[in-house]
């Protein structure tokens, strides 16, 4: 419980400091909005030409895109502290974190909370509502719960990826750019249901990194393409992905050698 209170403190500090530069905050938020708006335009123009892809219509794809975007922006807002982690290691800041009697992950997360991601999230929410109105989904409580599970599971999976990114920094001392394939790539290509990329990609995204568990399978349940009772629970199963990520992090902390610089 103490941890949560501490995080609340961090959060308030971050809000206050962001509000010191209101114009900059606003502009970055708009920038976030614009970049994902371009992705939306890409989908929109494709569906001016095509009516469906792999059995998914325009509004169904939008529903899928918006949920993925919400998952990603939630994870990014709260867990992108790991993004600058290579800096924390190379300037010796992590030494300071280690000597404090608090959880290291919590402190790293508190060091950077990206409120500007609200621009992206808002857009996702708008698209989500639009998708709901257009897609003729008959909503019931089980489908609503599925969306909630997707948001929880999705945030967990993306956070896990950010955690891996940071854990690798223990060994390389710098951020590895290729990890962006797994994070930004998933956001970029998660705009369409994963099945359209073919069977192999779907298998990879089911068993190696559980993207499909937080996107394709539950979406199929919501759109009534598959009504197996266990599909809504797959996003919760995806949370297990955090376990290997945490192990890697622990392993990294164990092997941490200070760079000595300050």
């Amino acid at each position: 419980m103490g941890g949560l209170r501490l995080y609340k403190r961090y959060f308030l500090i971050q809000v206050k400091s962001a509000m010191q530069y209101k114009t900059s905050f606003l502009l970055t938020t708009i920038g976030q909005f614009l970049t994902s708006f371009n992705v939306f335009l890409g989908i929109y123009f494709m569906f001016q030409r095509f009516h469906a892809v792999e059995g998914f219509t325009y509004s169904e794809v939008l529903l899928c895109f918006s949920i993925t975007l919400m998952e990603f922006s939630l994870a990014e807002a709260f867990f992108r502290g790991f993004d600058t982690f290579s800096g924390i290691i190379s300037n010796g800041e992590f030494d300071r974190i280690m000597v404090r009697p608090r959880n290291e992950i919590l402190q790293v997360l508190g060091s950077r909370i990206e409120l500007t991601r609200i621009g992206r999230f808002l857009q996702a929410a708008v698209l989500f509502v639009y998708g709901i109105m257009k897609s003729h989904v008959l909503w019931s409580w089980d489908k609503a719960v599925t969306v909630l599970f997707m948001l929880i599971g999705g945030t967990a999976v993306f956070s896990g990826l950010f955690l891996i990114y940071a854990a690798i920094c223990f060994f390389t001392l710098e951020g590895l750019e290729f990890m962006n394939i797994l994070t930004d790539g998933a956001r970029e290509y998660g705009k369409y249901p994963i099945s359209i990329y073919g069977k192999r990609v779907l298998q990879f995204c089911t068993f190696v990194i559980p993207y499909a568990l937080i996107q394709y399978y539950p979406i199929c349940y919501i759109l009534e393409k598959n009504s197996s009772w266990w599909y809504p629970f797959l996003p919760l199963l995806a949370i297990l992905f955090l376990i290997p990520c945490l192990c890697l992090w622990k392993f990294g902390v164990h092997h941490y050698k200070s760079t000595g610089s300050y």
Binding site: S24, G31, F50, V53, Y192
Partner: protein
């Protein structure tokens, strides 16, 4: 001329130093290209008649785009230049007996080329070995190949000239983030880097094709695969040359006004 060449050489060899980053870039771009093509394949299967290009030319377009990403993407701009304009350190450049516009132009060219040179060959090689509709083949004729090269040079110059406008405008505002963001977002969607221009709705396409944004990657990448050929290609290349003149002209005027009128903040 010689001094600008040495600026070019300096920035170019500096850019070549970042080999680990280039390796990561290659992996990313190969991955991106593959997924992009799988996506287009799905749409092609859904309705081949609605597909505006052939699948082969779409694949070639995407692989070339990924291989030469650094040449045409708007965001390949140097934070160092932005920072020196904002902090006022740019005055040191003004002290030198060189044209500021020309120097920054050459420097941007070198920066983009050095990044592209490190990245393009492995991606092109890989794409060349992929099976037919998903890989990249040689251009349909040697003439098309020549036009492609000409289009690449013009496209690169137009892209740099456009980013030069953004640098110039930075002189006039203290926080350039806004201009930069809007300009780069517009470039991203209108130049065909998210979706090749033939995929846009018909009416919009006509408008997009004459904008300066279409004079960047759109022309060479479509000439290569034969999507634009003959007279149409000549017309597209002339339009590129036209926009290059206009953008450079505007940039030079803006930059000279900036260096005359603007009060630097001190350093």
């Amino acid at each position: 001329m010689k001094k600008y060449f040495s600026f070019f050489r300096l920035r170019f060899s500096m850019g070549l130093q970042y080999r680990a980053a280039a390796l990561a870039g290659i992996a990313t771009q190969a991955f991106w290209g593959g997924l992009e093509i799988l996506m287009f394949r799905a749409f092609y299967r859904a309705d081949p008649l609605a597909f505006p290009m052939s699948l082969e030319s779409t694949s070639a377009y995407i692989w070339l785009q990924q291989a030469f990403l650094a040449l045409f993407m708007g965001w390949v701009m140097e934070n160092e230049i932005f920072a020196s304009i904002q902090s006022g350190n740019i005055v040191y450049e003004l002290c030198r007996p060189i044209g500021l516009y020309r120097m920054l132009f050459v420097r941007s060219l070198a920066y983009r080329l050095s990044r592209a040179v490190l990245r393009c060959f492995p991606i092109l090689l890989m794409a060349a070995f992929l099976p037919s509709p998903y890989g990249i083949a040689l251009p349909p004729s040697p003439a098309a190949g020549m036009l492609f090269l000409l289009g690449m040079v013009l496209g690169l110059f137009v892209t740099v000239a456009f980013t030069m406008l953004i640098y110039s405008l930075t002189f006039f505002t203290i926080s350039p983030a806004g201009i930069r963001m809007v300009a780069l977002s517009a470039l991203e969607i209108l130049s065909g880097s998210i979706l090749p221009i033939p995929f846009f709705p018909k009416g919009l396409q006509g408008v997009l094709e004459i904008l300066p944004f279409a004079a960047m990657q759109n022309v060479p990448l479509r000439i290569y695969s034969g999507d634009i050929s003959g007279n149409e290609a000549i017309r597209a290349l002339s339009l590129q040359a036209f926009w290059l003149v206009v953008l450079v002209g505007t940039g030079v005027i803006l930059m000279s006004r900036a260096s005359k009128k603007v009060t630097l903040q001190g350093g």
